[in-house]
Symmetry: D2
Subunit: 98 residues, 4 copies
């Protein structure tokens, strides 16, 4: 799927099968990551930041202590695109529990 | 003021004078930091993470692109303590606009 | 200048004028950055890491406490390329003393 | 063993048994960490930076791409102390291959 087109509901449903732990919430790809402590959580965030900056596609994310809550959407298309699924998949890999 | 006691409203009002940009919101010290881009925002977060981990006192924070929204409170006292003001002050220094 | 060609000595001499603090050492662009403490040094490294990863062009660098020593070269051309000057310039910007 | 005393050769030899991969080189605890790419290497460095800053005990380290070379010693005692072994052990844990 093209990274810059808004995905249909069907495409999103299909895409979700490839990124365990993610769901659609308020029109965005959403996942809560739980780590053992702040150190592990922030290590994950740094690695995800390197990926996001390279993709020029950045998450909305919230952190407190060992928890990282992520919401992904693509502003330019007003919805969810292939880029969101790509970043979701990479975050799963980096989190070690994807 | 002791870092581990819950501050009174008067103490909080007084403390806020020392940390420009911060206000009380829903019982927490709250500030929105705005940077020029993701790179600068995440550089700030990394420096603040080093401070927070050293203090063993961690923020609730949200980031999207160039914006970092921070909420500080002290779980152990069920409110705002001197530790929150200490971290708020250090974040102001690190942000370059405190 | 093209980022993927090996620069001549003349081109390097000319390029150095645009990146204060850098010199050629053992065939690489070399600079020592001095910060106020580890926090500031590692904040710089994180921001530089985001740039390097986006460029897919990574430094050789050494850190101890408040000091970061950087060497830049381009393996593919066996010397110094425009990419090294680009990264050197960005590091100067990020360091706040370029 | 006390973290602020210079260790004897015997104590060092004994300590090395607890931190696989580390050896003494030029009077410092020395290890080379190898990761899969820059992303993983820098994620490790960020996590180690959080630990080092909390301990107020910082490494000498060198990075290029997926490789991180670490040297640990304790300036105050002019040699290797228990703090170096503590940091070495934590780095092993963080690296996932200690």
């Amino acid at each position: 799927m093209s990274p810059v087109e808004k995905l249909t509901e069907e495409q999103i449903a299909s895409g979700l099968e490839g990124v365990p732990g993610w769901a659609v919430k308020e029109g965005k790809l959403h996942r809560v990551f739980q780590f053992s402590d702040f150190n592990e959580a922030f290590g994950f965030m740094t690695r995800a930041a390197l990926v996001a900056e390279s993709m020029n596609h950045h998450p909305e994310w919230f952190n407190v202590w060992n928890r990282v809550v992520v919401d992904l959407s693509t502003h330019d298309v007003g919805g969810i695109s292939g880029k969101d699924f790509e970043l979701a998949g990479k975050m799963n890999e980096l989190s070690g529990n994807g």
